[in-house]
Amino acid sequence: MDRPQLPEALARIRTELASISKVQAESNSFAPGDYLLREGQVNEQVSLILEGAVELLKTGEDGGEYAVGVLGPGQLLGLLSLSSGEPAFLTARARAHTQVLSLDREEFARLLRTRGDFNRLVAPLLLDNLVNRYRRVVGLHLEVAQLTRELNAEKQELKNTIAQLQATRNRLIQQEKMATLGHLVAGIAHEINNPIASLARVTDSLESQLGRVFAGPVAAHLLPLFQRAFVLGLNRKSLQTEEHRRRSEQLQNRFPWLGRTVIRSLAQLDAPDFEELYQLVEREPERERLMLVERLVDFLETAVLLRSIRIASTRIGSIVRSLKNYSRQDRAADEPIDVREGLQDTLLLFGYVLKKFNLEVDLPPIPTVRCATGEINQVWTNLILNACEAMGESGTLCVTCGTQPPDWVWVQIRDTGPGISEAVRDKIFQTHFSTKHGAQYGLGLGLAIARGIIEKHGGRIEVANAIPNGAQFTVYLRETENPPPVP
C-alpha cells in the first residue's frame, strides 16, 4: 500500500470498526518504553498501529535482547498469534508515543471471514504487512550471507597472516642457523687452512730435501750420525720462537762459520742431543766438518718435514672428529652425553673467533646429561659467539661447569664485556631482541634459539651480570637419572 494513502486507509478502518456493532475495538496509547507485548506471553489481540513506532525484540540464546525490527503506522502486531494461537514470538516496545487499535484475535478473524467490507479494508494491510516481513526476511538472509562471506574472508586473511608470521619466524630462525653455520664453516676453513698450508709446503720442500739427501753417498761409519739426526728430527718437540732464538744466538756465537739457515735447523735440537751429534762430527777432520753438519741438517730437516706432515694430518683429523661430534647426527636424541666434549669441540671449531681473547676453561668431571648433542652444541655456540661479540676486540672468556643438588648439571659462560643492563635483561631471550647493530655473528636470535633448545630438554638458562664486569649465562640441565636396577 502506498504511504500517502495510509492515514486515509487507517481512518476508514477506524470508522468501519466503529460502525460495526458489538465489536469492542480498544484504542490504546503507549509512552516510549512501554511494553505492548512480551515474548512468550499469551496474546489474544491483534493490534493495528495508528501512529508512532514499535520496536520488536527477541531474546537470543545467550539471554541478551536483540532488536529485530521496527513497526510503524499501518502495520499489525500479533499476526503470528492470530494465525497460530501460540504465545507471542517477539517482545514489542513503544519507541515513540504510539497509538494502536486492538481487537480480540478471534473477533478479528471472524470479521475477516464474515464482513466483506472489513476484509476489503484490512486485506491490503495484511498483505502489505506480510510483504514487508517477507522482504525483511529476504533482506536478513542476504545480510547474513554477506556477513558470513566477510567473516570467512577475514578468517582466511587471519589464517594467512598467521601462516605468514610462522613462515617468517621459521625463516629467521633458519637464517640465524645459517649465519652460525657460516661462522662454523669459516672457522673450519681457517682451522684447516693452517695444516693444509703446512702440508702443501712440506710436500714441496720434501722433494728438494730428499734430493739433497740422496745427492751423494754416505760413508758407512757416518751412517749412525745421520740416522740419529733423522730420529731426533722425527721426535723433535714443539719449540717456542723465543727459546729457538736464544739457542740460535748461542750456536751462532759458537759456530760463526755456519750459515743462519743451518743454525736455525740445529737450534731445534735440545742441547744434550745436539752435543751428542756434535761429538760425532768432531771425530772427523776439521775440513770436513762444515760439509758434515750441512748433510746432518739435510737428514734432520727431512725428518722435521715428516714430523710436520704427521702434526698437520693429526690436526686435520681432530678438526674432522670435532666436526662430526659437533653435529652428531648419528646419536639418539636422548643419549646420555658428557656436555664437556661438546664444549671442547665448539671451542676448537670456533678457535679463530676466540683467538683474540683470553680463554679460561675449567671443566671438572660432571655427570652425563640426556640430550641431543647437535642441539645442545648449538646452545654453546650461540652463547660463546654472543660473549665474543659482547667483548669486541679483547677480553676473557670463562667456560666452567659443575653440579647443583639435587640433580642439576650446570655450564657457565662468562665474558668481560659491558654486561647486560637491568632494562633489557628480561628481553634478551626474546626473538628479535638484539643490542647488536649490524650484528657480527647473527641476527640476534641466538639467545632465543638457545633458550628454546634448553627448555625443550627440560633445563633452564639464567643470566646475571658477572663480577666485576661482563655477563654470565648459566645453563642448567638435569643429569641422567640412575638407570633402573636390573630385576
Binding site: 693452517n194 732464538r245 750459515g259 679483547s394
Partner: protein, 165 residues
C-alpha cells in the same frame, strides 16, 4: 751496509716453519727473524732487529692470539724506524674489512692467502725487498744476484757516476 731483516709473525709453529723454509734462499743476504705473537714481534723488532739493522719486510699472519696482525702492521707504519718496511699480510681468513683496514691504515703492500706456493712467496718477497732497497739503499750492488736485477740495474744506470761529482 747494515743488515736488512725479514720478520715473519705467525702463531702456528708448522706454518711459521714453512714460511721460513720457503724464504731460506734470501737468508744469505736478508736475515730472517720470527715471532709467534704481536708482543714478541715488537720485542724482536726493538731488541734483535733495530740495534743491528733495518726492518725490510714483515710477513704477518692475520689472526694472532691476543692482538691481530693488522694492528701490528699499523703500529709499524706509525713508527718512523719501521715506516719504510714493506708489509705483507698472510691470511687464511680473507675478511674484506680487515683487508681494507690493512691497506688503508698500514699501507699494506701485499696480501698472501694461505695456502700459498713457494714461487708466489718468493716473487712477492723479491719484489717487496727490491722496492725497499730501491727506496732505502744507495749501494744496490749487493742485491743484484738475489733481487730483481733488471729494476736494480735500471736504477744504477740512472745514478750519476762518482766521477761526475
Amino acid at each position: 751496509m747494515s743488515n736488512i731483516y725479514i720478520l715473519c709473525v705467525e702463531d702456528e709453529p708448522e706454518v711459521l716453519e714453512a714460511v721460513i723454509r720457503d724464504l731460506a734462499p734470501f737468508e744469505r743476504v736478508f736475515p730472517i727473524e720470527s715471532a709467534s705473537t704481536v708482543n714478541e714481534a715488537r720485542r724482536v723488532v726493538a731488541e734483535c732487529i733495530l740495534p743491528k739493522g733495518k726492518l725490510g719486510l714483515v710477513i704477518c699472519d692475520h689472526i694472532l692470539p691476543g692482538e691481530d696482525g693488522v694492528s701490528f702492521l699499523v703500529e709499524l707504519q706509525q713508527d718512523s724506524r719501521t715506516v719504510a718496511a714493506r708489509k705483507v699480510l698472510l691470511t687464511a681468513h680473507a675478511g674484506l674489512e680487515a683487508t681494507v683496514e690493512a691497506v688503508n691504515l698500514a699501507s699494506l703492500n701485499h696480501y698472501i692467502a694461505k695456502p700459498w706456493t713457494q714461487e708466489d712467496l718468493l716473487n712477492v718477497t723479491r719484489r717487496q725487498l727490491t722496492d725497499f732497497v730501491l727506496e732505502q739503499e744507495t749501494n744496490l750492488y749487493p742485491f743484484l744476484t738475489i733481487l730483481e736485477a733488471d729494476r736494480l740495474t735500471e736504477k744504477i744506470r740512472q745514478a750519476p757516476l762518482p766521477s761526475d761529482e
